[in-house]
Structure formats: structure tokens, C-alpha cells
């Protein structure tokens, strides 16, 4: 893994990184990925078979609409807000 890969991951992750951070993460990623690579020992053929037999069940409930007590409290926690809306910078250019 090189610094270009880390910068690409940071872009996908919406993270601004300083150059010093890129350098640090580049070194550490190789080590961590080398460790978790152990998972590759698991045969690909095992995948479908085992996931199928996983013992989980769906928990369903009625889809009932109920009113929320204090939506304005939630809106007020947004860094930018106006009236009953969350405020962000312009997204589309004319």
C-alpha cells in the first residue's frame, strides 16, 4: 500500500488528511492488512454454504406511524439551521 492508495481511501471516506498523517497511515496499513490477511485462508467455497445455515431470524413489527414529540430539538442540534430546516451550502450550480 502506498501514499496514493491512502489518499484514495481518504477521499472515499470524506476525510481531509495532512501529509504527515498520510505517511503514518501508509506504514500502519501494511502491517494491519498483513495481519488480517489470515482470513484469506478460508476457502471461497465455504462462503455460500455457511452463510446459508446461519441461525438468524427476521424480527418484524407492524409499520405504525407515530408522531415525534420534539423535532425542533433535533433540528436545533444541527450546526446550521433556519426555521424548521437544516441549512447547508449550495449544492447545485445554476
Amino acid at each position: 500500500m502506498n501514499s496514493k492508495d491512502i489518499k484514495h481511501l481518504a477521499t472515499l471516506s470524506r476525510l481531509h488528511l495532512e501529509d504527515s498523517e498520510v505517511e503514518e497511515y501508509t506504514k500502519q496499513f501494511d502491517e494491519i492488512v498483513a495481519y488480517v490477511d489470515k482470513i484469506k485462508e478460508i476457502a471461497s467455497s465455504a462462503t455460500d454454504q455457511i452463510i446459508e445455515s446461519n441461525e438468524v431470524k427476521n424480527v418484524l413489527r407492524e409499520d405504525i406511524v407515530s408522531s415525534y414529540e420534539n423535532p425542533e430539538k433535533i433540528i436545533n442540534e444541527a450546526p446550521g439551521h433556519q426555521d424548521n430546516f437544516v441549512k447547508v451550502k449550495k449544492i447545485l450550480n445554476q
Binding site: 476525510l15 488528511l17 497511515y25 495481519y35 482470513i39 471461497s44 455457511i50 450546526p79
Partner: protein, 468 residues
């Protein structure tokens, strides 16, 4: 015995007999926090008005004879459990200034008991870490040796109980975050069965691993607190209930898993603990859990994957703090890049990596397969033994700064705790002994694991095992 040395049980007796008032108990905790917090850094912020505002309700419950075991008992809360109207940050700068808009389900339950909530116990940022060194508000120190870490990520909750700032606490355990600091600081930490306690109102780290767990001085206190917070919740569709027999005769030990990478003195304490279990009448059986070798890889693939998804909600738009960029997307980059800490960013990128096109099959999908293998293997082992015993951590509390710059080394310290989260089974850390380092005695915990919904087994064996 001072007020803050009490257990839930013994303090309850004093409150009911009116030997102590709720106000006296609360005052004792607040003065202990005021005295010790500057040194130990347990609470990010102390909101005494909020704490005191709960006193009259609790005292009224006692006076009217409607008290429960938890009425008037001060309970510290990790800074990732929401209390309506209270500040909360999950020890991150990105949530600075945020006020919770609702009560977590566990908070609603504790309020119904008239427990005294003490919010904002320190933690690793968003619970990512094993030492509290990744808190944006500084490290929580180990009360047994302040040059060492408390462990983490629930370090604040643990030290609060260990140093008498509260009588009990709640933490959250995603890969050992309640058990490991409990082991490092000499208290009892329970990671309940996945889904047995509602996660509604717990700031999410890795949703298929996270569970809220009690921190207490004794095993019977652990049961009291667990019984109060467990149960099905319509606001968390992963909550489940179940019951199994509490009988324990055979305890399995995966000796093959303890052959390397463990401190000699820690292993010696573990062996003494096993002898003690034998002397209590349990049969010790050597068991084999070959898939456990994959547990840490599974954990450090699936957890970052879930983290990268859960953390996407922190974007400077919806909650807390924001750093202005030149346009909308730059707001995201600047806010997240500047306000999230090193470990959080590392895990977001790791998760993005293992989920990205071309890698998802090799990492994410295989890790899910291996996770199911571990569950199946445990299910089979639990047909022949009733419980499993293991160490909690391969080492005693380490020095502050010793591992912070070496993430893989820190991850490897989770080797014995992650399996319970990968499988979803309950596990408990109980004080088992101590090792001596630089003329200081450092506590070491014993870890017991039971089958799904087998908490009663942990409490039963734990109560016999613990030395009070």
C-alpha cells in the same frame, strides 16, 4: 466503611434503613470525584446540578416504600449513552456542543428505578481503542498505578467504580471494552449476550457487535444491574430474550490458544484461577476452538466495515461541531478530517478498504463466513462443556504511551476478548489476582464465557469464585 466503598447491595440496605440519605450518598460521590478527577481524569465534565436534580425523586421512592435495589444508587454512564438534555460527545471533538435529544432505553429503565445518573465517563473516541488514550479529552489513569492506562474503551466507567466515584457504572463492549479495563482495574465487568440489552440511544460503533454492559464491584451487583437494563425493546429490532439452564459442572479451557503471546505472570494467575475453580468442584476440560485463531482478523475486518458506515453520519451537517470548507463537500472533508481522531480515521479507512470493489469478497465476505464458523464451533463445544474460562488480556495494564503509536500491537491485546463479541455470547471479567510491576500490584481478571443467554451461569460461578 466509607459511603463510596459500598456495593449496590450494602448501600441499598443503608438507604432503606435510613442510616443514609440519598443526598449524603450523592454528596460523597461528588466529593470523591472532585478530589480524584484532576489526577485520574475519569469524567469529561461533571454536571452537579443534573446529578442533584435526581435526589428528591429517589428519596421519595424510598420514603414511600416503592424503592428497588437501584433507587438512590449513583451510576456512572459512559459518554456514549444518551440522556435527554445532557451534553454528550463520545469523547470526540466532532460532537462538541451536542445535547442529546432523547433518553437511551437503558436510561429510561434506570430513571424508572430512581437510580442517580452520573454522565460523561471518559472513553476512547467513539469507543475505538483499548486504553482511553484515544479520547479527545485525555487518558484516564489506572488507580493502581497512575503511570499506566485504565484500559478501554470504557476506562472512565471502570475507574469511576474502582476509585469510589460511583457505586456502579455502564460501559459498552464491542471487542472487550468493558471486560479489559475491568481486568486492568480490579472490578467486575459484564458483556451481556448480543441483543439482550437495547442499543437504542447508544452511539453506534459496530452495530452487530455493540452491547451495553454493567461495571460493578461484585458479581451479585452485576446481576442486579443487568436485570434492570435487559429486555426486548421495540426501538431496537435486534433485541432478543432467551433462557438456558444455569447448571455448571464442566468448564472448558482452550489451552491451545494460550501457548504464545501471553505474559508469563498473567498465565500464572490464570492457572491459579483454574485450580480454584477445580477446588470449587468444577471439572476442567481441555477444549479445542481452532476457529478462534481467526477471531481477531474477523474482528478487525467487520468492525471497521461497520464503523465506516456508522461514522458517515458525522459530517458537520446533522450534529455537533463543524469546520467550514469552501463548499458543501469540502465541509465534509474539513469537518471529518479535523475533528475526528487518529484511531477513528484509521478505522473508517480500513473499513472503506475492506468494503471496496475487488476486496469485499476477499475480506468482508470471508470474515462473515469465519464469524459463522466461530458461532458453530462454540455451539458444538457448549454441548460438552457448560462454560469456557480464558484470560481477559494477554498482559497487565500497560504504560501510558507504550502502545498508542503501534495500532497493530494494541489490536493484538484484544485477542482473548473479541471472540465473545464475534459470536455474540455473554462473558464476564472477575478479579482473579494480581501481578507485581515496579513495586505495584496490578489486578488481573479471569474471563468466563457462557452460551447465548447464559448470564445466570456467569453469575452463579462468578459468585462462588470471587473473593470478597
Amino acid at each position: 466503611m466509607t459511603i463510596t466503598e459500598h456495593t449496590i447491595e450494602s448501600l441499598h440496605a443503608k438507604l432503606i434503613s435510613k442510616e443514609l440519605s440519598v443526598q449524603e450518598v450523592v454528596d460523597a460521590c461528588i466529593s470523591q470525584i472532585t478530589a480524584k478527577n484532576p489526577e485520574l481524569n475519569v469524567f469529561i465534565q461533571l454536571h452537579t446540578d443534573f446529578i442533584n436534580s435526581q435526589v428528591s425523586v429517589a428519596q421519595e421512592k424510598i420514603n414511600s416504600g416503592t424503592a428497588t435495589m437501584l433507587t438512590g444508587i449513583p451510576i456512572a454512564l459512559k459518554d456514549n449513552i444518551l440522556i435527554q438534555g445532557e451534553k454528550i460527545t463520545a469523547a470526540s471533538k466532532i460532537l462538541e456542543g451536542y445535547t442529546a435529544t432523547y433518553d437511551a432505553t437503558v436510561i429510561k429503565k434506570l430513571k424508572a428505578h430512581g437510580a442517580i445518573l452520573i454522565p460523561r465517563a471518559n472513553m476512547d473516541e467513539f469507543a475505538m481503542g483499548a486504553s482511553t488514550e484515544f479520547s479527545a479529552y485525555g487518558v484516564t489513569k489506572n488507580p493502581h498505578d497512575t503511570t499506566r492506562v485504565s484500559g478501554g474503551s470504557s476506562g472512565g466507567s471502570i475507574v469511576s467504580v474502582a476509585s469510589g466515584m460511583s457505586i456502579a457504572a455502564l460501559g459498552s463492549d464491542t471487542g472487550g471494552s468493558v471486560r479489559q479495563p475491568a481486568s486492568f482495574c480490579g472490578v467486575v465487568g459484564l458483556k451481556p449476550t448480543y441483543g439482550s440489552v437495547s442499543r437504542n440511544g447508544l452511539i453506534a460503533m459496530a452495530s452487530s457487535f455493540d452491547v451495553i454492559g454493567p461495571v460493578t464491584k461484585t458479581v451479585s451487583d452485576s446481576k442486579i444491574l443487568f436485570d434492570a437494563i435487559k429486555g426486548i425493546d421495540s426501538l431496537d429490532q435486534t433485541t432478543v430474550e432467551g433462557e438456558i439452564s444455569s447448571d455448571v459442572k464442566k468448564i472448558g479451557v482452550p489451552y491451545h490458544f494460550l501457548k504464545s503471546g501471553i505474559d508469563e505472570d498473567v498465565l500464572k494467575v490464570f492457572e491459579e484461577n483454574i485450580e480454584r475453580l477445580k477446588s470449587l468442584g468444577y471439572e476442567i476440560v481441555d477444549i479445542s476452538l481452532p476457529s478462534f485463531e481467526y477471531a481477531l482478523s474477523i474482528y478487525y475486518i467487520l468492525v471497521p466495515a461497520e464503523v465506516s458506515s456508522n461514522m458517515s453520519r458525522f459530517d458537520g451537517v446533522k450534529f455537533g461541531a463543524k469546520v467550514e470548507g469552501k463548499d458543501m463537500i469540502d465541509d465534509y472533508f474539513k469537518t471529518r478530517g479535523t475533528l475526528l481522531g487518529t484511531e477513528v480515521k484509521r478505522r473508517i479507512m480500513l473499513g472503506t478498504y475492506v468494503l471496496s470493489a475487488g476486496y469485499a469478497d476477499e475480506y468482508y465476505r470471508k470474515a462473515w463466513t469465519a464469524r459463522t464458523m466461530i458461532k458453530q464451533e462454540l455451539k458444538k463445544v457448549f454441548e460438552s462443556v457448560d462454560m469456557i474460562a480464558m484470560p481477559v488480556s494477554p498482559c497487565p495494564a500497560f504504560k501510558i504511551g507504550e502502545m498508542a503509536s503501534d495500532p497493530l500491537k494494541m489490536y493484538l491485546a484484544d485477542i482473548f476478548t473479541v471472540s465473545a463479541n464475534v459470536a455474540g455470547v455473554p462473558a464476564i471479567s472477575i478479579p482473579g489476582g494480581s501481578v507485581n510491576r515496579e513495586q505495584k500490584n496490578l489486578p488481573i481478571g479471569l474471563q468466563l464465557l457462557a452460551p447465548w443467554h447464559g448470564e445466570e451461569r456467569l453469575f452463579k460461578v462468578g459468585q462462588k469464585f470471587e473473593i470478597l
